[in-house]
Each structure stands twice: as C-alpha cells, then as structure tokens.
C-alpha cells in the first residue's frame, strides 16, 4: 500500500514534467523565438519537477511525527477519517 502510494505520484509527475520538458520542445513552432521557448520549457520542467521531488522525498521516511495539541487531536481524529 505504501509502495503503491509512493509509486503512483512519482509516475504521474515524472510523466507530466517529462512530457513538458522532453516532448514539448518538439512541438514548438519554427520562428525567431524557438530557442528561447525550448529553453524555457526545459528549465521549467527541470525546476518544478526537482522541487516537487525534493518535497516528496523529504516526507518518504519521516523520522518523527507531528506533535499536536489535544484539541486538535479531538477533532481531527473524527474529521479526517
């Protein structure tokens, strides 16, 4: 269950940013701005994918859990289930 729940977002987002960063440049129409647009697409894909990846990897194996107030525990316990 845990492995699935990690693999699915990874596949989805890798495909998404991969499409933008790797497949996108092939579809840019010819013109004076072609180079700039390709650079923009690739850089965006790299930056955004990297940022998302760092965020999910940091939470993959948490070493400690959140410390909650008892009021919070009271309502989250039933609200989020």
């Amino acid at each position: 269950m845990t492995a699935h729940s990690f693999a699915l977002p990874v596949i989805v987002f890798t495909t998404f940013w991969g499409l933008i960063g790797i497949a996108g440049p092939w579809f840019v129409p010819k013109g004076p701005n072609r180079g700039v647009i390709i650079t923009v697409l690739v850089t965006t894909a790299v930056c955004c994918y990297l940022f998302w990846l760092i965020a999910i990897l940091a939470q993959l194996n948490p070493l400690f859990g959140p410390q909650l107030k008892n009021e919070t525990i009271w309502y989250v316990r039933f609200l989020w289930e």
Binding site: S5, T39, C47, I54, I56, A58, F64, Q67, L68, V76
Partner: protein, 637 residues
C-alpha cells in the same frame, strides 16, 4: 503758475496689462515764458498735453476727438491680438513636427561631426560597428540614399583588434530578463548569455523564498493587469518613476507570481493556511486507537506526538507537497527547517554546477580547449566531489533511513565535518558500508584538483607559447634548452594570455604575444582561490532560500493568527462577526499587501538577484563588455 490735481478714475493703459496710474492735472499760468517752461517740464516727463479751450463746445469737440482716437486705437489693438493668436495657433499645430525635425537634424549633425574629413578624397570617413546580419540592410539603405542625391556612400569591412560591442536582440518579454543580467554587467563579445536561463531560474528562486498560493495569486493578477493594459497610452506614457519600474518588469512579475503559486502549493500555504487537496498521509485515529488515547488521557496531556513507528499512523507521503497535518502541529518548524535547509543546499549545488557547465560553452567557442581539461573538469570534480556528495548523502538518508532506525539515525552534518577532518565520531553510525573509504577518496581527489586548477593553465600556456615561438628563432627548430632561452628575448607586444581575459580573436599566430608568466600565474591563483573558497561560501549562501521562506511563512502566519483569526472567532452571533470582520479584513488586506507583498516581495527579489549575480554568474560570466548603442531616431523605451 498753479496746478491742481483732478480726481478722476485711474486710467490703465491696455498695453501689457501693467497697471500704471495716470494723474490728470490742470495747469494754468500767466505769461508766455512761464508757459514755455511748463511745456519743457511736461515734455521732460512725457506728459500728454492738451490745450484747454475756452468755449465749452470746443472742449467737447476735443474730447470727442480724443475718444474717437482711443476707440480706434482699441480696435487696432484688438485686431492685432486676434491676428497674433491666429498665427500662434497655426504655429502650435506645426511646432511639434518642427521640434522633431530639429532634433533629428541635430542628431544627424552630431553623428556627422564624429566622422573624420578626408581632404584628399573630399569625403567623410567614419568607422562604426554594425551587426553582421544587418550588413545587407545597411548596403541597401546606402544604395537607396545615394541614388537620390548623386553621391555614393560605400561601406567596407575592416579587421579590428578591439573587442566589439555586444548586441543581444530581445523582444518585450525577454527584455526585462536581459535587463537584470545587464545591470550586473554587459557580457563580453560572444560570451555565453545567462539571460535565457534566468527567464525561469530567477522567478523560480524568487518563488522558493515567497511560496504562498494567495500571495502568488495576487502578484500574478497585478502583473496580468499590467500586461493586458500594456498598449494603452495612458498606461504606457505614465511618468511616475515607481510605476515605470513596476511596469517595465511586468513579465518578470507575471512569471514570479506564477511560480509562487506553484511553490505555494508545494509548501501547502495559502495565506498561511494549508489545504487538503489530497487526504493527509498521517492518521491520527490510528495513533489514538493504538495508544489508547481516551478522552480522559487527552484531557490530561495537552500535547501529544504521533509516532511513525506505530503501524497505520504514517500511511504514505503526501503526493503533492507538504502534508497538511504539519500546519496543525506545534513542532512543524522542526520538520520544515530540516526540509528547507536540505532543499536549499540541493538547489544551490545544482544551480552552481549548471553555472560551471555553462562555462564549457565559453571554452569551446573561444577555442580554448585546454581549459576544458585543466579548468572545467577540476572545477566540476571539486564541486561535485564535495558538495555533490553532500547532496547524495541527503538524498540517501531520505531514501534509506526510516522511522524504525530513527533513534540512531546518522547525522549528515557530523559526517560531513568528519569527512574534512579525516576523523570519525563513534556515536555516529555510518550511512552505508564503506563510507569512510569513499569519503577519504573524494576529499583526496578534490584536494588533488586544486594544484591542477592552480598550475595547469599557466604551465600549458607557457609550453604552448614556447612551442609557437620556437620556429621563428634563427637557430632553427631545434628543441634544445638553448633554443628555449633565446626565443624569449625577441618578444614584443600585446596581449597577456590571462585565463580570464578571453580575447575574441584567434589565438594570435600573427600577433607578437607577450607572455608574462608571473602575471598569468597570479591571475590563475586568484581564480582558483576564489572558486574553491567560493564553493563553500556560495553553498552556504543558498541557505538564504530557507531563511527567507521561513520568514515569509512566519510573517504570514502571525498576520493570520493576530488579525484574521481574531475577527473570525469573534462571536457566535452572525451580526457581530460580520460587523467586526469588515475592519478586521481591511487591516488584514492592508498589512498583507504592505508587508507581505511589497516588503517581502522586494526582499525575495533582491536575494534571488544576488544569488544569480554572485553565486551563479561568477562560475562562468565575466560581464566586462559594452553594449552596442546604434544611431537611431527611435526613442529608447
């Protein structure tokens, strides 16, 4: 003689509207001589003198005459004024175009003044820079103009030793990004231009420090409004300097807002509130059930911690961003600080490595292939061997150390420090088997790169210089020691092959190159020290990404808790809450815009700019060129 002042209305002459007071006198005298003296006095004072007639009708006649005269004069003055205003009106319509013409003529003459007169050929000679791709257009323009007048203007390409100016063509979108790169320094002729990458990395690093969906959305909408209204003359022609600054950077702000929305989603902050787009990966119910958290137990313990070791508590990492449960936790800073610090280091090392790689384009383009081996490879090895390894350790720990081993989790910081000191801490578990060997190897390798960086290029250049000059000596191509010593005496001229000064010309075989080894070596030493020490300090400098994003998050949280929360939790009656919310929201909105958008925005802008200018660009960019400023009638935007 006696005179009497007559009380009458003060007459104001209608000339120039200067109110002058006129006095009327009645002078009576006896005798001719006194009369002449009086006349002289009145002449002296430029008085208007009218003889006083005895008869009443004569006096009326004179009066009527005078009135007619003044009437006619008034008419004439009126006509003149009308005529004047007509002429001025006509001129006013023509004046702007005349002014433009005069400006143009003046500009042309100023440009012509810079040409030198050639007496022998009876023509003006000018040397100018022209972009190579524009040369056909230039020829065309000259041909067209000469065919009309009958004199011919010709253009020749001449070789030149000076460094040509830099011309980078931009459209209105890329102009603002090129502007921020040029503000640091215009690039040398033909060196690699960091602006295309800056289009994305600058807004991205800004957004890392500014990440909040709500604030990003406000910024994006503001920039969008400016972009959509950019062609309106009222907006374009505004003279307010602050407005012009914001307006000039509208595309920059647009991208900054867009990326801030994205990083806001990843940080899971919208006006400091987290959203649960996906269900949280932490289950409080599981923890409560398994640890026996009854209501009485909870009443006794105001603060309890979820333990990821307990089954069912931690289900999965949140698929997009930071889990929303952390915004409810009191120890959320412990988690976020660790996450953001590591994120800053990872982003920093990648950004800097990218900068070093961009230097490859420079080396290849200027034909200095030796620098690929003697500078680029050692630099990259040093950077990645030490700080790339740090990134590796961070990612490895994220992947391999789980909650089960949390109590004895290895500390990356201690490992990193021990790596440099070649020591070990017995209490710190190794991350993986063979870690000490790997770390020692990497440090030794990195240290070995330093002498290569220091001595490689100067020694190579000296060897190359000798090799080139050896065949010129009369002693022939004999590669013995005496030959080497002789060849150095006959050197004359110009460029020192400093490793930083890329000359745009071909490696001079025609030029007499003077090669001062000590100068080159000094230069390379400075460059090496700057790079190696800079690696450490620049990596630490990227921690400002963490610091500013923390400041932004905390400010935004404080604003919510102290202002909006107070208003929202005011009372249970609908009326009270609604009435209180109006001023509360006004205060919240004002403070959000003033503190969080303007102040934090400017701050994050500045720091992202500094990261680009210093930490990124000093890996490859020299910025010592000058811009091409062509003669143009167009007004600079």
């Amino acid at each position: 003689a006696s005179f009497k002042e007559l009380r009458g209305p003060a007459l104001e002459p209608p000339i120039l509207g200067e109110p002058a007071t006129w006095m009327t006198f009645l002078i009576s005298y006896w005798g001719e001589q006194i009369g002449q003296k009086v006349r002289k006095i009145t002449d002296c004072f430029h008085c208007h003198v009218f003889p006083f007639e005895d008869q009443e009708e004569a006096r009326n006649g004179v009066l009527q005459q005078l009135q007619q005269q003044s009437q006619e004069l008034r008419e004439v003055l009126g006509e003149t004024e009308r005529f004047l205003s007509q002429v001025l009106g006509r001129v006013q319509r023509l004046l702007p175009s005349w002014q433009v013409q005069i400006h143009k003529m003046k500009a042309v003459y100023l440009a012509l003044n810079q040409c030198s007169v050639s007496a022998t050929h009876k023509c003006l000679i000018a040397e100018a820079w022209c972009p190579t791709s524009d040369l056909p257009a230039l020829q065309q323009a000259l041909q067209e103009s000469s065919s009309e007048v009958g004199v011919s203007a010709v253009v020749h390409r001449i070789p030149c030793r000076d460094m040509p100016p830099t011309l980078i063509r931009t459209n209105r979108f890329t102009a603002s990004f090129q502007g921020i790169v040029d503000a640091y320094g215009v690039g040398r002729y033909l060196e690699v231009n960091p602006a295309p990458y800056t289009i994305i990395t600058f807004p991205f690093l800004f957004a890392v420090m500014f990440g909040d969906v709500g604030h990003g959305l406000l910024l994006f909408l503001f920039a969008l409004a400016m972009v959509l209204a950019e062609d309106q003359p009222a907006v374009k022609g505004a003279q307010n300097e602050i407005w012009r600054t914001f307006f000039g950077g509208r595309y920059l702000l647009l991208l900054m807002g867009l990326f801030s929305i994205y990083t806001g989603f990843i940080y899971n902050e919208c006006f400091s509130r987290a959203t649960t787009i996906f269900p949280s990966g932490w289950s409080v119910a599981a923890m409560a059930n398994q640890s026996g958290w009854s209501d009485a137990f909870l009443a006794q313990h105001p603060m309890l911690t979820l333990d990821p070791n307990v089954t069912g508590v931690f289900l999965r990492p949140y698929p997009f961003g930071i889990d929303p449960i952390w915004s409810l936790a009191t120890n959320h800073l412990s988690f976020l600080n660790s996450f953001k610090m590591k994120m800053s280091v990872i982003l920093g090392v990648i950004h800097m490595a990218f900068g070093v790689v961009l230097g490859v384009f420079n080396h290849v383009h200027f034909g200095q292939h030796h620098r690929l081996l003697l500078e680029f490879l050692p630099q990259l090895t040093f950077l990645l061997g030490l700080f790339g390894y740090l990134v590796f350790m961070v990612v490895y720990k994220w992947l391999r150390v789980s909650a089960a081993g949390a109590a004895e989790a290895p500390s990356i910081l201690i490992h990193f420090i021990n790596m440099f000191l070649f020591s070990r801490s017995p209490t710190n578990r190794p991350l993986y088997r063979g870690q000490e060997v790997v770390q020692s190897t990497l440090v030794v390798l990195a240290l070995a790169m330093v002498p290569i960086l220091l001595l490689g290029t100067p020694l190579y250049l000296r060897w190359q210089h000798r090799r080139h000059h050896l065949p010129r000596t009369p002693s022939g191509p004999q590669l013995d020691k005496a030959g080497f010593l002789n060849s150095q005496d006959g050197n004359t001229s110009v460029n020192g092959w400093g490793s930083d000064e890329e000359k745009a010309g071909p490696p001079g075989d025609e030029e007499q190159a003077e090669f001062v080894f000590s100068e080159v070596f000094m230069h390379q030493a400075i460059h090496t020290i700057e790079f190696c020490l800079g690696c450490i300090s620049n990596t630490a400098s990227y921690l400002r990404l963490w610091a500013l994003s923390l400041a932004h998050a905390q400010l935004s949280e404080v604003l919510w808790a102290m202002v909006m929360h107070v208003g929202l939790s005011m009372g249970r009656e609908v009326g009270v809450a609604a009435a209180v919310l109006v001023p509360v929201f006004a205060a919240f909105a004002t403070l959000t815009v003033a503190i969080l958008l303007v102040m934090e925005g400017l701050s994050a802008f500045l720091h992202a700019l500094r990261l680009h200018w210093v930490e990124f660009q000093n890996k490859f960019y020299s910025g010592t060129g000058y811009k091409l400023s062509p003669f143009t009638f167009a007004v600079e935007d």
